[in-house]
Amino acid sequence: MSRESRMRATINQRLTEKGERERLKELLRVKLTECGWKDQMKAHCKEVIKDKGLEHITVEDLVVEITPKGRALVPDSVKKELLQRIRAFLAQHAT
């Protein structure tokens, strides 16, 4: 297990060092905006805000409401592409 966690740490480190993490983040953001995921989520936010009230809304409230739905709403194509890129990176840089 420790070997695994060590491996994970190494890989994460490498991901950040090579700048791949930032690239992947940007790619994901662009893809989600393109496919309309962001607008969907914003509409959901509006509902949540209207429920909770404009004045008393907090970040935590939003996070709690939004994240599960957000995770579920990601289109399959975007998910597949991202997974592929991560795997490619690992294959390239994993010893």
Binding site: M7, R8, I11, K25, I49, T67, G70, R71, L82, L83
Partner: protein, 344 residues
């Protein structure tokens, strides 16, 4: 890249795959958090709900998704079949043809003046040549009839006004002086028939003393350059003798009358130009430019400028200055008589 290609073994693969998914989840959560922060800030700053208005406006500007119509609900070719009433001629014109029609109708486009001039020219000449043949039966007897010649020439010139060949050949002709005068003379007369024949002798004289008066064969417009007689007579003429000039004038005017009476002015014009072509070439011709018109061809005679009834008196004035420039006033008298020999 597929899992089978990876060099790692089975259990590692699943772990690796788990790792990949974990990384992926992390990235997605990051995106969601980013969105939450953005929205929260927008709410607290007060610009989150700005794009919403009252229900009525929302309905009005809703995106339209019907066939044949754009997202605003407008039809694309709505104006295709509509007709507009022209303010000038009060006709109903199709919308797509409206602008070109207005251009021609109001006479303001680039081509409209050209077309109008051409039409005027053809109308004038058609009516002129028809009246010629009606009035003068003698013409029909002659082998060479001016009216028929004019008509034939007219057809030829109407063939292709804008072909590059035509303009090339004409320009070439205009450049050459003596040899081409005989062929050109008919064309010249055909052109001067537009304006010079309609004006009286006095009008033509006044016109030609102030302006050049040469009518271009291409554009059928009269050259407005200030006349050489007026300008040059003051500056350049050393040998301009008034008595000589008056003598010339009187001689030329005497020659005027037999010109007018026997045949119509058009035919005499042609014949004089025809005979003038036999005269030796003189350099002065180039200065005046040899486009067309009475004064142009009259120079070639070297003072014997008899181009027929209406324009002869005016051309005589220009001839005076030119002939004195050449310092050959005496030549005009024998040349005039020689012309009449040819005529008779």
């Amino acid at each position: 890249m597929k899992m089978e290609d990876m060099p790692l073994s089975g259990p590692d693969n699943t772990k690796l795959e788990a790792l990949v998914h974990d990384i992926y989840s992390e990235l997605v959560e990051d995106a969601c958090l980013g969105l939450c922060f953005e929205v929260h800030r927008a709410v607290k700053q007060g610009y989150f709900f700005l794009d919403e208005t009252d229900q009525e406006s929302m309905k009005e500007f809703e995106i339209v998704d019907q066939p044949g119509v754009d997202i605003f609900g407008q039809v694309y070719n709505q104006w295709k079949n509509k007709e507009c009433e022209c303010p000038n001629c009060k006709r109903l014109i199709a919308a797509s043809r409206f602008a070109p029609h207005l251009e021609k109708c109001l006479g303001m486009g680039r081509n409209s003046s050209r077309i109008a001039n051409r039409r005027l020219a053809s109308n004038n000449n058609m009516s002129k040549s028809e009246s010629d043949q009606e009035d003068n039966d003698d013409l029909n007897d002659n082998d060479w009839s001016y009216g028929a010649e004019k008509k034939a020439k007219k057809r030829k010139s109407d063939k292709n006004q804008n072909s590059p060949r035509r303009s090339k050949s004409l320009k070439h002709k205009n450049g050459e002086l003596g040899s081409s005068i005989s062929s050109e003379s008919y064309k010249y007369n055909y052109n001067t028939g537009i304006s010079y024949e309609t004006l009286g002798p006095d009008e033509v004289r006044s016109l030609l003393t102030t302006q050049c008066g040469v009518i271009s064969e291409h554009t059928k417009k009269m050259c407005n350059r200030p006349s050489l007689t007026d300008a040059d007579a003051v500056v350049e003429n050393d040998s301009f003798d008034i008595p000589d000039g008056q003598m010339l004038m009187s001689r030329l005017q005497w020659e005027d009358s037999p010109d007018i009476s026997p045949t119509d002015s058009a035919s005499s014009k042609a014949s004089t130009n025809h005979s003038e072509s036999r005269k030796p070439k003189k350099k002065k011709r180039t200065s005046l430019g040899l486009n067309s018109g009475g004064s142009g061809s009259s120079v070639g005679g070297g003072g014997g400028g008899l181009t027929g009834g209406s324009s002869s008196s005016s051309s005589s004035q220009s001839n005076i200055s030119l002939s004195t420039k050449k310092k050959r006033p005496k030549l005009s008298a024998p040349s005039i008589t020689s012309i009449y020999d040819d005529l008779n």
